[in-house]
């Protein structure tokens, strides 16, 4: 039927389909978000309610919670498609698989990364962050969470259909998330101390560009290996 | 050379000898475990070879 569908058009179709599916299974979006909120609210309970301490640990707490929330949502990135066979169809289309995989990653970010960015100001306020720190928390999450989705997709593709996949995924992916964590919290701390965070932000940006270029391609290759 | 002094390592006997013992244990396990498996395989193949011929 639509053999000569343009690359952009098929990209949009996959993205639309993914977003529609996500809308139908709203719980899948809400679960990581609720997890994110719960983890962050555990910290004041654990370390005590002193605003001084909370303000110091806030960047790290929010970012570690964001890493874990993303990790939780990655397991279902390709799993439904694996079971109903659409994943193999995706790899068999005439379009380069990496472009379609990229659409899936974008939809993953829109449904897990973006909600975290939007809810973060509330959580930042609950941890008594200053307004500068709050803005930089949102900014780093906006730049950093796409990286989490991109690198996470590679891990999800590698562990596709494996028993104990979730824990294994954490073991593979979390070490690779470390630079994002360091640069992002570094940016928030620098900005809230009155220094320029430009260096940190451009490093996150560079990391984002590199993963944008390579991750979809590596993910589609890893999917081929896993489905072979 | 004084042996007691040598073993004392300037008061850091635990740290210095601990490091060397750890190295001995970790490297030792790395050679012992594969070698044990390898020897067992060799023995098995030799037996098979003898019964076959």
């Amino acid at each position: 039927m639509t053999h000569n569908l343009g690359l952009l058009a098929s990209w949009q179709r996959v993205l639309k389909r993914e977003l529609l599916l996500a809308y139908r299974q709203r719980n899948d979006i809400l679960t990581p978000l609720i997890f994110f909120i719960i983890v962050i609210s555990l910290f004041p309970l654990g370390v005590g309610p002193e605003p001084e301490i909370l303000r110091t640990i806030a960047p790290g707490v929010i970012w570690v919670a964001a890493l874990l929330a993303t990790l939780l949502s990655l397991a279902r990135l390709f799993n439904n498609e694996l079971h109903d066979g659409t994943l193999e169809q995706l790899l068999l289309t005439p379009q380069p698989a990496s472009v379609l995989v990229f659409a899936k990653i974008v939809s993953h970010w829109l449904t897990t990364g973006l909600p975290l960015v939007l809810i973060s100001p509330l959580l930042a306020l609950s941890l008594d962050m200053s307004s500068t720190a709050l803005i930089y928390t949102m900014l780093t999450l906006l730049l950093g969470t796409p990286i989490l989705s991109l690198i996470g997709a590679i891990g999800a593709a590698l562990t596709l259909g494996l028993r104990g996949g979730g824990v294994l995924l954490a073991l593979l992916i979390l070490p690779l998330y470390i630079p994002v964590l360091i640069f992002s919290t570094g940016a928030i701390i620098a900005a809230s101390n009155g220094f320029s965070a430009e260096g940190h932000l451009s490093l996150i940006g560079a990391y984002l560009i590199i993963t944008l270029i390579f991750a979809p391609w590596v993910t589609s290759y890893a999917l081929r290996v896993s489905l072979d | 050379m004084n042996w007691a002094e040598f073993f004392n390592m300037g008061g850091h006997a635990f740290n210095v000898w601990g490091s060397y013992i750890l190295a001995f244990v970790i490297l030792g396990l790395n050679i012992w475990l594969p070698l044990r498996k390898y020897r067992a395989q060799q023995r098995k193949i030799r037996q098979q070879h003898e019964t076959a011929s």
Binding site: L158, S226 | M9, P34, Y38
Partner: protein, 241 residues
């Protein structure tokens, strides 16, 4: 090509068998020489005293941890491009010993840190990077062992290794940077200012000894796994091990 010929298990197996005694003997000799020079000949450091002798284990082990990871990643690239089966045998044989050297570097670093820094563990940039390297080794080993199909296991493992090796400089750089951000100058540099030749010689000899040890163990493990995989092939039956 001679390279491709010896990449076949049939030819590699006897070649490895021939090389093994040489590497094994050399490894034992260099380890003895390194131990003698390190424990008896090298003088105590004027600053660190006798604890400097931990360096002869710690530093070569840390070098090995990175060297082995690089070797594995190199083999992974070769295996993915030219589809040589032997590379996976090499990689899986290397992984456990690479992880052991990383663990050894961490543990001896901790034993060295106590007298130097007054704490068993300091979030020093090098130690932290080494810890992350251990996580990368463990991640690779768990992924490889979680996949039952050997072809998928070797290719998925290779992809993970290559991603890891690209990320390693970024991780190292970010950790170093994070470290200077959080701890200005409170920790002493582990590598000291200048290294005297009486210290440098045993250090280099131990580094060579560890490499020879690694080659010997890898050869044994590779021969072992070839025996596992090719138990039914005819060349093995004819050769009679």
């Amino acid at each position: 090509m001679i390279f491709q010929k010896y990449a076949a298990p049939k030819y590699f197996y006897p070649l490895a068998g021939k090389c093994l005694p040489w590497f094994g003997t050399l490894a034992i000799l260099t380890i003895c020489a390194g131990l003698y020079l390190g424990l008896f000949v090298a003088p105590p450091d004027y600053q660190q005293g006798e604890t400097v002798r931990i360096m002869f284990i710690h530093v070569p082990a840390a070098w090995m941890s990175m060297f082995i990871y690089a070797m594995m990643a190199g083999a992974a690239a070769i295996g993915l491009v030219w589809k040589i089966k032997l590379t996976d045998t090499f990689i899986t044989a290397s992984a456990a010993i690479g992880a052991s050297f990383t663990l050894l570097a961490l543990l001896t670093g901790s034993l060295w840190g106590k007298p130097m820094w007054g704490a068993w563990w300091v979030w020093d940039a090098r130690l932290t990077s080494e810890l992350i390297l251990l996580f990368l080794y463990l991640g690779f080993m768990s992924l490889h062992s979680a996949i039952d199909d050997p072809r998928r296991a070797s290719r998925a493992g290779a992809i993970l290794l290559l991603i890891g090796v690209i990320n390693l400089p970024v991780i190292h750089y970010s950790v170093e940077w994070w470290n200077t951000l959080h701890q200005p100058t409170s920790v002493a540099r582990i590598d000291g200012p200048r290294i005297h030749s009486s210290i440098l010689t045993p250090l280099l000899i131990m580094a060579v000894a560890f490499k020879l040890f690694y080659v010997s163990v890898v050869l044994i493990r590779m021969r072992s796994s070839i025996l596992d995989n090719e138990a039914d092939s005819r060349w093995l039956q004819e050769q009679g091990a």
